[in-house]
């Protein structure tokens, strides 16, 4: 009985440690890599993450895994095996909440345009074209500044030939299927 209680305590300590690893940013990118979790939590880290996920579910958060790709990943291509675990919001936030988080309406709209356009081009589109479509709504200079900001934040990646692709943050944060179907169903204004 005592041994069981001790085992449970150790396990809950590990769940806490997993939460710290995932929620507190230590390096350049948020979250933790699978090898990092294995080293800090042990071989059964996936089970610990499952338990953490159950706990986070109560506060509308979830643990997600994103594949780390080197350079360009087009649809249908397999991702490299090294994955990163991050904690994301399970539900969605309202525009008002997004503004309170420091996002401007036009930045969100710009992100929607850039991501949807790249998706429609099968995950890879020339930077010039993305800027051109952004410029139609936001002006040329803002479009350029915004594209730079999205690349810096990790929403879009840029390769040597000036092609933009969806980067790790988009893969972690944006539900592309919902976005594309919402855009397809949206009524013309």
């Amino acid at each position: 009985m005592e041994r069981k209680a001790k085992a449970r305590r150790i396990f809950s300590d590990k769940v806490k440690r997993a939460a710290h690893l995932l929620l507190f940013r230590r390096g350049k990118l948020p979250g933790a890599k699978d090898w990092e979790l294995r080293a800090r939590l042990g071989e059964d880290y996936e089970e610990i993450l499952r338990q953490l996920n159950e706990l986070l579910d109560n506060v509308d958060l979830e643990v997600k895994t994103i594949g780390s790709t080197a350079g360009v990943a087009s649809f249908g291509e397999t991702l490299t095996p090294e994955s990163r675990y991050v904690t994301t919001l399970k539900g969605t936030i309202s525009l008002r909440e997004a503004r309170m988080c420091g996002w401007r309406i036009d930045s969100l709209a710009g992100l929607a345009i850039a991501v949807a356009y790249v998706v429609s081009k099968q995950g890879k589109a020339p930077r010039k074209e993305v800027e051109k479509i952004l410029a139609r709504k936001l002006g040329r200079w803002r479009a350029m500044a915004m594209t730079d900001a999205f690349v810096r934040a990790g929403y879009l990646g840029e390769d040597e030939s000036g092609m933009l692709y969806l980067d790790w943050r988009t893969r972690a944060e944006v539900d592309l299927r919902t976005l594309m179907s919402a855009l397809a169903e949206a009524r013309f204004e």
Binding site: L23, R25, P30, G31, F75, G76, E77, V86, T87, T88, L89, K90, G91, T92, I93, S94, L95, A98, I105, D106, L108, A109, A112, I113, V115, A116, Y117, V119, S120, K121, Q122, A125, P126, R127, K128, I133, R136, K137, L138, G139, R140, W141, M144, S161, R169, A172, E173, V174, D175, L176, R177, T178, L179, M180, A182, L183, A184, A186, F188, E189
Partner: protein, 278 residues
Amino acid sequence: MAKKQEKAKPHTAIARRDVIDIVKTCEAIEDRKFNPFLLDVKYALNTLRKYLPHWKELEDHCLDAHALNRLSRVLRLQGSQLRFQSSSLYTDPAFLEEKLTALSLKRLAEILAESWHPIAELEQITEPSMKEAIAYWNVLAPVEERWRRFEMGSSAPPGSLETEDLDKIGVRAKETFEETLSELWRQLKEESSTGAVNYQDFICRENFLETVERAVQVSFLVTYGYARMVRSNGSMQLMPNEERKLERHPVSLPVSITHEVWSKWKEKRKLDASSATK
């Protein structure tokens, strides 16, 4: 018979040109300039097959292998396009562009918010950030001293401002930033019609504030790829680009403009102007 064979043998230059055309088309498709299905892969393969027995030099064999490799990539793109079109993510790009243009910014933001699950993360206190905070706190003057600087005595009675005054203090802009940069780009192109323009001559104005403003605007032109800076004979030169051209490996170039530096530039400018009139 030999004459007939000679006739069937294609001209090497024409054959090379055909293969290079195939490679270029494949590259354009890979750069998403054309639809992958625009290329008739079967026809391209037949062309390669037709020329293969006539290649004699290693270079030509390499070109053939290169073309085959490019064709295989196009085939892979065709495959992924078919998979993509059958997935729920597929939307016709032209239709989507129309939608994106027609929808308001607010509606687009709402659509993104419906499918957006931002990462939850916390910035934590680290040893270096604590040290930085302590150092800042230690040099921070007391509140009384800080407020003393703003005590200007009794305030002036309220007055009215004309639109010109608003322009001067920067509350109302005569032209947008975009228009300002476009005008500056046009000026640079005009001035550089005979060659590169000296950086300090281009940004130096009669007023210090105007000079700094111009330097900031030029930095935007360079960052956005509408102009480039080159070092020549120990001075910085500005060259406009005919169209936007981003640097693959951008380099930061700090330019410090103090009042003294500006005064020197102005003096030099006056001297240059007087020597030119002489």
